[in-house]
Amino acid sequence: MSMVNWFKYASPASFYPLAGKLIPFFSAITAILLAVGLWISFFMAPTDFQQGEGYRIIFVHVPASWMSMFIYCVMAFWSALGFILNTRLSGMMTQALAPTGAMFAFLSLVTGSLWGKPMWGTWWVWDARLTSQLILFFLYLGFLALTSAIDDPRRRDKAGAILSLVGVVNIPIIYFSVIWWNTLHQGATVSMTKAPTMAHTMLMGMLIMALAFWGYTIAIVLKRVRCIILEREIASEWVKKNALE
């Protein structure tokens, strides 16, 4: 029985109003969590005795890094779904997710290197984790470049789905290859210095920020999907009747 419901929302016509209702909800959650998270990270969390105030960048850096990896998996999930069930919505979801994923990957790179300058004395090192994050960013760019270069929507959906599935198969391979590349040659010149035990408030702040990023992602993706739906189905009856009033 519950399957029936799912399929109902897999059609753009019924997903569109649902998404419209969900957006304010998630926007509100995001705003609250962001406020709390930022307050914790800037005022509650104590100054680190080793790293000074600069370490506060962690509250953006870590959640952004998590999100960037997670979003790629979600894209692959939607793509697989699109291939198996042949739903139109999945292509739109994949394309709506990609820019946000790329944005978080970029944010992770930028905040990481901003942090790297005071910590390691250099903006960039060829460390395994940094390199694999960079490659992830390139995978996002590849996806964006491909989908924006194809203007027939059906072909765009399918090509995007193939690319994100191939990419997600490769991600573990890339991840391990980069780790071995980096550690087998020679000792890494600079390695990530992790705080030995993370302070409780710090962890709290990070988790709340991560949740806020989740909320943001959901809200913005729903918004983008609505735009894509409108653009694609502008000619269809339900858009003329319901959506454009």
Binding site: F138, L141, I174
Partner: protein, 224 residues
């Protein structure tokens, strides 16, 4: 109409086309040679430095040489309508694609493997290291052609295809590059390198199994 006849007949067809102008094969080779030879001009002639970076650079050269031929893998057949006809063939489209990929490897990958000893000598690499380098190339370059075919199929008929293709494919090539160059480096450092070789072989199998099939799907999408 069986498996091998289809692969063989497509591969032979593409090789005939490549051989029609003998330059086709020779130039892929010379591109590789020239790219690798540009390096000393760019980074200076210090022999110790050069022999240190040589295996990695040979691998990057091989990768770019493969890449260079990729846009043409399906593009000609697409433009002149042959691909449409191929998809109308009663033979399996996946196998047809596999035949084309094999021809691409024979034209772009194999010559690169065979010329490597010469470059190795230029960069003062020892015999055994050259051997290892060739072994990794034999194992690795087919993966490059196979994965590349997916990219070529996805970007078919898309404007800016050649460059877009590189953008899609180069990140996916990175494991091959790392395992390939890594094996040679590990051998030089006296470490065990069989792990790398097994990994390359595993990639080979994986790609051989999936890439022609995925490319065929992508091509059908492009033809719609």
């Amino acid at each position: 109409m069986n498996l091998f006849s289809t692969i063989y007949c497509m591969a032979r067809r593409d090789l005939t086309l490549a051989l029609r102008h003998k330059t086709e094969i020779l130039t892929a080779l010379f591109f590789f040679v020239i790219v690798v030879n540009l390096l000393p001009l760019g980074v200076g002639p210090d022999p110790k430095l050069l022999s240190k970076i040589a295996p990695g650079v040979v691998w990057i050269g091989a990768l770019l040489a493969t890449l260079l031929g990729l846009p043409r893998l399906f593009a000609h057949d697409y433009q002149d309508g042959t691909l449409e006809q191929l998809s109308l063939s009663p033979r399996s489209f996946t196998l047809i694609v596999l035949g084309k990929i094999m021809a691409h490897w024979i034209v772009a990958g194999l010559p690169v493997v065979l010329i490597t000893p010469l470059l190795g000598i230029q960069f003062n690499l020892s015999g055994p290291i050259i051997g290892v380098l060739m072994l990794t190339l034999v194992l690795g370059t087919p993966v490059l052609s196979l994965i590349g075919a997916i990219g070529a199929a996805l970007t078919l008929g898309v404007r800016g295809g050649g460059v877009l293709l590189s953008l899609l494919i180069l990140p996916l090539y990175i494991p091959v590059l790392i395992f390939g160059a890594g094996a040679a480096e590990a051998y030089r450092a006296g470490l065990d390198m069989t792990g790398y070789l097994w990994l390359l072989a595993a990639l080979d199998l994986l790609a051989l199994f999936f890439a022609p099939w995925v490319s065929a799907i992508a091509l059908k999408v492009a033809l719609e």
